[in-house]
């Protein structure tokens, strides 16, 4: 029976992002959370491996207390239990510190794990760094960006497209793989599943102190990088603004730019009749 750890991250729901019209930015504080799509693929991969090989899934996340609801969702989908790493002291961690904390939790609470699966990247920051750094922290072999994974015995085989190559690779357990979104269509949460997960699901909550983290090495303090400024780079371009009825707008657009558009596509778009 394989012991599988799936690392998940809760991200702001993209389709529901509240836009601040004055600032021109996303209001992250009131954004609704969802399971990061690539993490969902990682969970789906774990569920399929369990169905084929037999196994048990532990879902791990680091985040604010509300991330618990995502762990409940993972349990409703088939994970055996969830581990929530939540502590104000962990806030502001860069990818290296995040991978350090995840590694401590996995070593402490998932003794004897066989396979760690992560999403390839997250939709909110897209660094794709935590997975590879977690493999380093756990000192196990790892592959990033797998499209398909099969486990047989103590070996996993995966395929990925990397730059211009299609690669097929193998490694022995224990190991870590980050999974791209798109290959497996994730399953739906069963009706009543989340409620059952809220009632019976086993969630272990751990703080920095529980993990024995050195406070100097976590959160903002422990991060090697420092954000100096965050700006909205909206370049103020002197542009032409068109408003009104769509048909009228399109007429104006062609009146001014028919040569430009026609030139780019190599066609004459002038309105006058030639014959």
């Amino acid at each position: 029976m394989l012991k599988i750890v799936v690392c998940l991250k809760q991200v702001p729901m993209v389709s529901e992002l509240p836009w601040d019209p004055v600032m021109g930015t996303i209001q992250r504080d009131i954004a609704e959370g969802m399971m990061n799509p690539a993490c969902r693929s990682a969970l789906e991969t774990a569920l399929r491996i369990c169905a084929a090989e037999g196994g048990e899934i532990t879902a791990v996340t680091m985040g604010p207390p509300m991330a618990e609801e995502m762990l409940r969702e993972a349990i409703s989908l088939g994970a055996a239990r969830g581990i929530l790493l939540t502590d104000r002291k962990m806030a502001g961690a860069d990818t290296s510190v995040t991978s350090h904390i995840l590694a401590r939790a996995i070593k402490m609470a998932c003794v004897g794990f066989d396979l760690v699966l992560c999403g390839f990247s997250t939709s909110d920051s897209e660094t794709a760094q935590v997975g590879p750094q977690l493999a380093e922290e756990l000192a196990i072999p790892g592959v990033a960006g797998a499209d398909g994974i099969e486990a047989f015995g103590r070996t996993v085989r995966m395929q990925r497209s990397s730059d211009n190559f299609i690669e097929i690779m193998e490694m022995d357990l224990p190991c870590l793989i980050t999974v791209t979104e798109g290959e497996f269509a994730p399953r739906y949460v069963p009706l009543g599943g989340i409620q059952a997960a809220f009632e019976d699901g086993e969630i272990l909550t751990l703080t920095a102190a529980d993990l024995g983290c050195d406070p100097e090495k976590i959160g903002v303090k422990g991060s090697a990088t420092r954000i100096m400024s965050v700006t909205s780079p909206t370049a103020v371009k002197k542009n032409l603004v068109l408003t009104g009825a769509p048909k009228r707008i399109v007429e104006q657009l062609f009146a001014r730019f028919e040569d430009k558009i026609g030139g780019a596509i190599g066609r004459d778009l002038k309105a006058e009749k030639t014959k």
Binding site: V14, S15, P21, G24, T25, I26, R28, P37, T95, S96, S123, D124, S125, E126, T127, A128, Q129, P132, Q133, A135, E136, E137, P141, G142, A144, G145, R157, D163, N164, E167, E181, A224, T225, S229, T231, S232, P233, T234, A235, V236, K237, N239, L240, V241, L242, P246, I249, V250, E251, L253, F254, F257, I261, A264, I265, D268, L269, A271, K273, T274
Partner: protein, 349 residues
């Protein structure tokens, strides 16, 4: 072989040389950064038969061949080269091991790595081994008044750009998106030294076994190379309305791109994604429909020569980037454009 000059290293990612010239782009930017800190530019190359790697395609020009010489001709002062049969194929574990060993020995001030698929896994592993900071997928690099590397990167899902530094630890590391910097033209009169670094004897066995690796014959680059792109976002409203963009693109002889929300909503496949995790486009003309303009998207399309954006919200970031900003419902304007184009193209027949 070490000098007192601060060194900026560039990882020599030559595997897809002709499709992806990010290493040359980084050498160029590293040269400019080196001026500001009175430093030098070094490239690091691991491989086998690297002297002949570029030979085939460049055989019509006998003045240069080989990866190391190519990097010198494009701006490197020094190339560290480990050439060994063990390095015939790219290997993550081996390359990280070699780079860590060399960096600990030579102590570079900065390491820049192209954000190829390989580079984006290689960089975080290396940063972890060296216990230093790293910024992913930078869209700009500079030097601040203290001589530190400013790593400019998209931030937090919005249309934000963060300036990040690594104040204490060394080296300062960044992975950098391809297509941001302009390479220096090849100059075969440029000189530099090549330092041959022998393969360490204690190199560990690879735990990841490459069973098969196939180069894809022709990478589909339609969207990346298109001179006209029609891009749609959440503002298109529905899958059915989004599908109209394909009709428009066909009339215009262009390709269809999409933002992340449109891909998530399953209005279009992942291959159409224009953005940080998708494709970089640089068309002559970009039509952008119902796109708010998150930085992950705009950084991948703001090299378009001429942008027409349609959005109900005149304050949307994409509208600020546009040459023509149309304040209207995206799908209605799309429909009107189709109608007008059909009329005009029919007249031509």
């Amino acid at each position: 072989m070490s000098t007192s000059k601060k060194a900026i290293w560039v990882f020599g990612d030559y595997r897809n040389y002709f499709q992806n010239r990010v290493t040359l782009q980084l050498l160029s930017r590293a040269r400019e950064l080196a001026e500001k800190i009175d430093g030098m530019v070094c490239a690091v190359v691991f491989g086998h038969w690297t002297d002949e790697w570029l030979g085939e395609a460049l055989s019509n020009n006998p003045t240069f061949c080989g990866v190391a010489k190519e990097y010198i001709a494009h701006g490197a002062d020094r190339v560290y080269l480990t050439d060994h049969s063990r390095l015939a194929a790219y290997s993550m574990e081996t390359y990280v091991f070699l780079m860590e060993r060399l960096a600990r020995q030579e102590k570079p001030e900065m390491i820049l790595i192209g954000a190829t698929a390989f580079g984006r896994e290689f960089a975080p592993r290396l940063a972890k081994r060296l216990d230093t900071g790293l910024t992913a997928d930078c869209i700009g690099l500079d030097i601040n008044k203290d001589g530190l590397l400013i790593q400019i990167a998209p931030s937090f899902g919005g249309n934000l750009v963060a300036e990040i530094i690594t104040p204490q630890r060394r080296p300062q590391m960044a992975s950098v998106r391809p297509g941001i910097f302009q390479e220096i033209p090849h100059d075969h009169n440029r000189t530099g030294e090549v330092i041959n670094v022998p393969l360490p004897r204690d190199i560990p066995a690879d735990r990841v076994r490459l069973v098969r690796s196939e180069r894809r014959l022709m990478r589909e680059q339609k969207l990346e190379d298109a001179s006209l792109v029609v891009c749609g976002g959440r503002g298109m409203g529905s899958k059915k309305k989004f599908a109209k963009l394909f009709e428009l693109a066909e009339l215009l002889g262009g390709e269809v791109g999409a933002t992340r929300p449109a891909v998530y909503a399953n209005w279009v496949g992942h291959e159409a994604l224009v953005g940080q995790a998708g494709k970089q486009i640089r068309p002559q003309i970009l039509f952008s429909f119902g796109v708010s303009g998150a930085i992950q998207h705009t950084a991948a399309c703001n090299n378009a020569k001429f942008i027409v954006a349609v959005n109900k919200n005149p304050e949307a970031a994409m509208m600020k980037l546009a040459d023509v900003a149309i304040v209207a419902d995206a799908s209605q304007v799309c429909a009107a454009l189709i109608q007008e184009l059909k009329r005009r193209l029919r007249l031509r027949q």
